[in-house]
Amino acid sequence: MNACGCPGSQAMDFRKKAEGAAAGAPAAVASELGQWPIQLHLINPMAPYFQNADVLLTADCVAYALGGFHGSYLKGKSIAIACPKLDEGQEAYVEKVKVWIDEAKINTLTVIIMQVPCCRGLLALAQEAAAQAKRKVPLKYVVVSLQGEILEENWL
């Protein structure tokens, strides 16, 4: 247990019991990732794969928690990942999201975060950038539980 009780850092064990786990080796799942790099500090927001694209801005932990991430969310989209709790220099993140909207003219922006409170910062960052941008794009957010369930999915 984390001393401060922060839900984002609290240790939990939800390993599946042996009888609940699928038998045999899992089938290979094709990656839907269509670009590199993906970390928000590293990406060029004007890269060709962001032009007019449907873009995911995803908290680092999401792809580990959400079992069907590639097929259900990443397929057909461009992506950047970030951690609103640990990453430094997040002013640059706001600017990059604004460039996506105003200059790369992205089609939609979907922000996927974990349920832990600190993750809300990523959504707030995207909303701030969208509010500052001159263009408007549909903005959706998805909240994923620690065990990979979709808790919320809504257009703003």
Binding site: G76, K77, I106, N107, T108, V137, K140, E153, W155
Partner: protein, 263 residues
């Protein structure tokens, strides 16, 4: 039972009137539909029923149509409704409906004033209503709905054909209102305004509660983004006109409220 699902809903209801109550229980309001020639299958699919509700509906239908017999219940394939609420473009259309409904709500009060005939002031008011319907409801709203949203779906389907027919019927009522004003026929104006109001009330209910939720679930994010951008182009084309019509609605409400409080 599969054969039944491929028949027109209205025919089936006419043959088995007891279905009216069953469908009503599941909020399927085809009984009052002006056309009703959608397939039973399409009607069940378009309503957001859970698998349990769908099974309960088919069980109740089978009891009416095949009493005392055991029949295999079909299971219709439906796209799982997205967890997301209305996407921004659909939300916009629902918002525009709200303005149209506000005008429809005023029509009975307008019609009351027509009982004494059509004077110049009443002709002016009716002309303004026609102008709102033709320019805000028909040209502006339908530039998004008919010309953009509906193009993502099979327009030959009975569901959309019914919506298009409602739009055409509405336009015919508006033409009749204009003719009534030109001929000084207050009764005809009142009759067609009332008919327009009744038609659009039911039409908007079908769109807001059934058609749009279904369309919302079918559209992918990429399509939603394109619709949103295309809607911005429509807004740009119409400039400040929609906002002016919204101001007119507020003024019209205030004017009729004032008249009511004075009478």
């Amino acid at each position: 039972m599969n054969e039944l699902l491929n028949r027109n809903i209205k025919e089936v209801i006419a043959e088995y009137p007891a279905l009216t109550a069953v469908l009503g229980k599941f909020n399927i309001g085809c009984v009052t539909c002006s056309a009703g020639n959608c397939l039973f299958r399409d009607i069940v699919t378009i309503h957001p029923l859970t698998p349990e509700q769908e099974r309960a509906l088919f069980t109740a239908v089978a009891q009416i149509i095949y009493p005392g017999r055991t029949v295999e219940l079909p299971h219709l394939t439906r796209k799982t409704a997205t967890r997301a609420g209305f996407a921004p473009p659909i939300r916009e259309l629902v918002g525009e409906h709200a303005w149209i409904k506000r005008v429809i709500t005023l029509l009975p009060a307008v019609n009351q004033t027509l009982a004494a005939g059509l004077d110049a002031a009443q002709k002016q008011r009716v002309s303004e209503i026609v102008d709102f319907i033709r320019n805000f409801a028909d040209r502006f709203h339908h530039a998004k709905e008919e010309d953009l949203l509906f193009k993502y779906f099979d327009e030959k389907s009975e569901l959309l054909a019914t919506m298009h027919r409602d739009h055409e019927t509405g336009r015919a009522h508006v033409r009749a209102v204009v003719a009534g004003v030109e001929q000084g026929d207050a009764a005809a104006v009142a009759e067609h305004l009332a008919a327009y109001g009744a038609l659009l009330t039911e039409h908007i209910r079908k769109e807001d509660e059934i058609l749009y939720p279904w369309m919302n679930a079918q559209l992918g994010d990429a399509q939603i983004g394109r619709l949103f951008a295309d809607f911005r182009a429509v807004d740009e084309r119409f400039g400040g006109a929609p906002a002016r019509y919204q101001t007119w609605v507020e003024q019209m409400e205030a004017s009729l409220n004032q008249q009511r409080s004075q009478s």
